[in-house]
């Protein structure tokens, strides 16, 4: 994989984020920030019949953090909760299509962490599984 972070499709997600905004009546919500660079992210989910019916995210920060949130939102829309619970870092990296240097992993995985936290807070996922910092 390339080290070239700023491929056209990443910049496209950054400039034109999919599913940007908030939901009026979400039944899962979480937000967090990355203390290192001040990236902020909030995710709203509407889960109906065991599926993610709607997703919105709102945030500000670097291209990597915001593009990965946009990509993740596309990835989970319409998926079953069981499928979404399984999503991990490799799925985000596959979507980004680039390798991320250690200093930038917190940016890339911020949306994934907030997503799992929102499911945990809504009682749809065991808390903590995806919330731990890497040891590597």
């Amino acid at each position: 994989m390339s080290m070239d972070y700023y491929r056209e499709y990443i910049l496209d997600h950054y400039r034109n984020p999919r599913n940007y905004g908030t939901l009026e009546n979400p039944n899962a919500h979480a937000e967090d920030s990355n203390p290192l660079c001040g990236d902020q992210l909030a995710i709203d989910l509407l889960v109906e019949g065991g599926r993610v019916a709607e997703v919105r995210f709102k945030g500000r920060g670097c291209a990597i953090s915001q593009a990965s949130a946009s990509m993740l939102s596309e990835m989970i829309e319409g998926k079953t909760v069981d499928e979404v619970v399984q999503l991990g870092k490799d799925d985000v990296l596959d979507a980004l299509g680039i390798s991320i240097s250690p200093a930038r992993t917190k940016c890339a995985f911020l949306s994934l962490r907030v997503l799992h936290r929102s499911l945990a807070l809504a009682g749809l996922e065991k808390p903590g599984d995806h919330d731990e910092a890497d040891d590597e």
């Binding site: 972070y5 660079c37 001040g38």
Partner: protein, 427 residues
């Protein structure tokens, strides 16, 4: 650019004529500056976070481990005595470097943060009570802010802050008003790590003393870059780190006035800081060892001594002059870039620090592009000064910082990298 004399020569001012060493030549003393990143020569513009180290420092530390590695202040054998002598000689070098009256007033710590925490716990614990006022400023690094917040929480003391104006200069009029509330301590930075602001330290200290307050100077960004004279400033406490001034990590300095240090209780207990120990009570060692519990960072102290030798050979006036010229060049070049905003004071009040933003490109994206496309290392983020970021309504800035080995071509590489970022993000 200005070059350096290769001998200390404090008496003379016409340094530029006696040019012997240029920044290009100085670079050769720094092995790391010869390496490449992403296939490009490393352009290191993050000395404000940590400076690079010359051969002389690295070799001096290696020599300790090769030739006389032993604990200090204990052994009566040859190599322990040698290690002790070399470490204490380093302390004398530090004392002379900042013009301390005596090397006993130089306490070795781990870094600036530990030096400040030492004062907050030891002096603060004994002297700060509920309702007492501590003054800091809006431009402080977290390390000169959080220790005072913790002290205030422990004691019920109050904190007030000298605000900054839009150019990053301290509001001395507000300071004068705050002094009317009779603070116990004024803690402030001599050079801002974000804006580069050089604060009027001597004036701040004189006014604090007139109001009956003591002062603590965070000199982490000043001692490496400009001549600092603790007696001239009349500072009560002054703190800095070795790793920002060509020395190793893991060692820092607390300077204090002798009567203050003598009266303060120990910070940490352990070996080396005691005179006599009984099961239920002990008595304390003399300064400076009263504050140095446990085996110290011996190689690091000796390495710091070597760094000071190196800085003295160049001359701190020459270093300050070089940084002023390189900062002037950088300001001039950066101002040619469309959409670039520079924060902080004009050149006259600025150290070798430039914080900026470029259009709406997030500083972390800028830093990544500069790294990958130009081999340029800069800092991006809140620079451990979140209150200051809030003051300017910023989440983050990009920051380039300069030192003795920074050349105009480093600045040119930065400028080229920024143009590349504009190309990629397209505005």
């Amino acid at each position: 650019m200005v070059a350096f004399e290769n001998r200390p020569n404090p008496g003379r001012t016409e340094t530029v004529q006696s040019v012997i060493r240029s920044a290009e030549e100085i670079r050769l003393d720094f092995p790391i500056l010869a390496r490449q990143v992403h296939g490009k020569p490393l352009v290191y513009l993050d000395s404000g976070a940590s400076s690079q180290k010359p051969h002389a420092v690295i070799e001096t530390m290696t020599e300790y481990y090769h030739m006389y590695n032993a604990n200090v202040h204990r052994g009566v054998y040859e190599i322990s005595e040698e290690a002790t002598a070399r470490m204490e000689k380093a302390r004398v070098k530090v004392a002379r470097f900042i013009n301390a009256r005596h090397s006993k007033q130089v306490i070795f710590t781990r870094n600036t943060s530990e030096s400040i925490n030492l004062v907050a716990y030891s002096w603060g614990g004994a002297n700060i009570h509920a309702g007492d006022l501590i003054i800091a400023t809006e431009i402080e690094h977290h390390s000169n802010l959080v220790p005072w917040q913790l002290l205030a929480q422990r004691t019920g003391a109050r904190l007030e802050f000298i605000p900054v104006d839009d150019d990053g200069m301290l509001r001395m009029d507000v300071y004068a008003q705050l002094l009317e509330q009779k603070p116990k301590l004024v803690a402030f930075t001599q050079v801002s790590n974000v804006l580069g602001t050089i604060t009027p330290a001597k004036e701040i200290i004189a006014q604090a003393h007139a109001a009956g307050a003591l002062t603590l100077v965070d000199a982490a960004q000043s001692v490496p870059h400009i001549p600092v004279d603790v007696q001239g400033l009349d500072a009560d406490f002054l703190c800095f780190s070795s790793h920002k001034m060509l020395g190793p990590t893991g060692i820092g300095v607390l300077y204090g006035k002798r009567d203050l240090l003598e009266a303060m209780p120990p910070f940490m207990g352990g070996g080396d800081m005691i005179r006599t120990v009984h099961l239920r009570e002990s008595t304390w060692n003399d300064l400076p060892w009263k504050f140095e519990a446990g085996t110290p960072a011996i190689a690091e102290a000796i390495g710091l001594g070597a760094a000071i030798d190196y800085l003295n050979e160049l001359g701190m006036q020459n270093i300050a002059q070089h940084e002023r010229e390189i900062t002037a060049y950088a300001l001039e070049q950066l101002q040619t870039i469309p959409g670039l905003t520079i924060y902080g004071p004009p050149l006259e009040q600025r150290g070798g620090v430039i914080s900026f933003t470029l259009g709406d490109i997030h500083p972390h994206d800028l830093a990544s592009i500069l790294d990958q496309e130009a081999g340029v290392a800069i800092r991006a983020g809140h620079h451990c000064a979140q209150p200051l970021m809030e003051r300017y309504g910023l989440a983050a800035t990009a920051r380039a910082t300069f030192y003795i080995y920074t050349t105009p071509s480093d600045i040119d590489a930065l400028v080229q990298g920024l143009h590349k970022a504009i190309e990629i993000f397209g505005f």
